[in-house]
Amino acid sequence: MNPAGMIPAGTNPPVATPFFFYLLAAIMIVGGVMVITRKNAVHSAMALITTLLAQAALYLMLYAPFVAGVQIILYAGGIMVLFLFVIMLISIERAEKERQFNKQWLVGIVAAAALGGLFIAVYTTTTKGRALFPEGRMTYGETQNTQQIAALLFDRNVGQYMFAFEIASLLLLVAIIGAVVMAKKRI
């Protein structure tokens, strides 16, 4: 089935092509590797921003523009700015002279290999002749993505995730209050 199955005729050709996927995946992998190999923390942060932006582009490719927009606003625009804010105040010269070491490389390799094996296993396994991830997936046209998410959250009939959503926001509220309580000696 055409990956853009639900998209009405007469709109743009799908952007979900293998070319874009491999391009974005390559950018993400290179960025991810640079995050851990750069000695300079600011360079690491910038590589992480690149990775996050490429991830937002992947969401766009999956016809989820709302998630992509939220990814850019929250991660690239909000969290990473705060990261940089903190990192900028660290003395970079000293950090660059420190010898980098990691005594957990053996465990790390084993964990990474196990995770990779799991991915391959999931992708190749077939149950009753059907793959877990069939070739074509139903997708909604990107013109309604935001409205679809809102319906899933809040709609009277099809909404089913409102409770989980509210619980998650309560968790964030607790974190905010906790931060204020810990930072202030006297409230």
Partner: protein, 431 residues
Amino acid sequence: MHALLQYILSYLDSDKTPGGAGNIFWATVYILLVFAGLSVAVIAMNWLERKILAHMQVRLGPMRVGPHGLLQPIADAIKLLLKEDIIPAEADAVVFWIAPFIVVLAAFTVFVVVPFGPTHAITDMNIGILFMLGVSSLSVLGIVTAGWASNSHYPLIGALRSSAQMVSYEVAMGLAVVSVILMTSLNDQSTGTLSMIGIVQAQLAQQEWFIFKFFPLGLIGFGIFAIAMVAETNRAPFDLPEAESELTAGFHTEYSGFRWSLFFLAEYSAMIAVSSIAVTLWLGGWLRPFPNLLVGPTWDLVFLLFPGITFLLLAAMCFYNTARMPKHPLFKVQTIGLAGFGAVLGLIGLILFLPAVRIRVNDIFWFSAKVAGFMYLYIWYRGTFPRYRFDQLMKVGWKVLLPTGLALLVLTAVVGMRSELWAELQGVWRP
């Protein structure tokens, strides 16, 4: 060849944006047009700001290069491009090099969704306003990295101030925007929209600009946004990141030549971008004034003639000043130049009177005119208000704008749902 021509011509009948119709040729044309228009607008703003500020302070402003200093921005641009581009020895060269490009990219990319008219936008996204806020928030990254990479004290302090300021005011700005998005959902299907074109069409459908909606709620939301957007663009009275009396030039102290001019370009295009958000969300975007009071073919015609009249007025101003130029032989070239400029403006004005043209440019004119009003406000603020102290800035952001924004959001939701709420209170569900 014929197929190519067919492809190009096929868009002309469509009622969609080039991006919506999927026409690559016209999308490229629109991108080039927006880019060129933006560059001209930044050049014009440069001259206007210096001239208006000068007149507010009872000075003459630029008068030497060209008649009334009209060629001053071009002279400045040539100077900046010819200047030596210095990268300090102790600076982080790669990050220093890349920072201005981040700022410029973020400032220009947002114009992809700015609706100059129902079809005059590069594309219309389902997440339009979210895209604009998200991408323009990326410009903080450029400013912060520029300040850090300079490896110098003033830029670092400027960058720290800028990141704190922009992150704080983004919150209040977002709350004001969300209250407008609630207003767009007041229709039969009660579905709102984030699309920039959709927001203006919602104002058209409700026959009301959102600044007047639920008076005074819309006005308060607009006020919050109008304050936050000045802080977002680091302009006076919130220009602490580049406060010249304290920090030399703030985050771009170490930049010179071309790279400095990129920061300048980004600052002004970011100002135009946030102003167009404000115009789209509260002031009816491309809609002409009084769409519901002054109706009828006569009023339609009157408002359609405005673009041409504006250009004719500008031309008349040019001719008036041509007549007032000094009669000395040294000023001969300048006098001829000013008359020629006036003639060009007058010709544009006459072209805008043609029926085929005036119908198509009317929406672009009203949008640009509203944005130009905001640009004048920016200059006015700079000429009028003293700069805030940093703790005052934070107090305004977190203790005034944020609670007001939250209250506004709740009140807008309550007023918008009042009939349903009343029905619920009575125990009867009215769908």
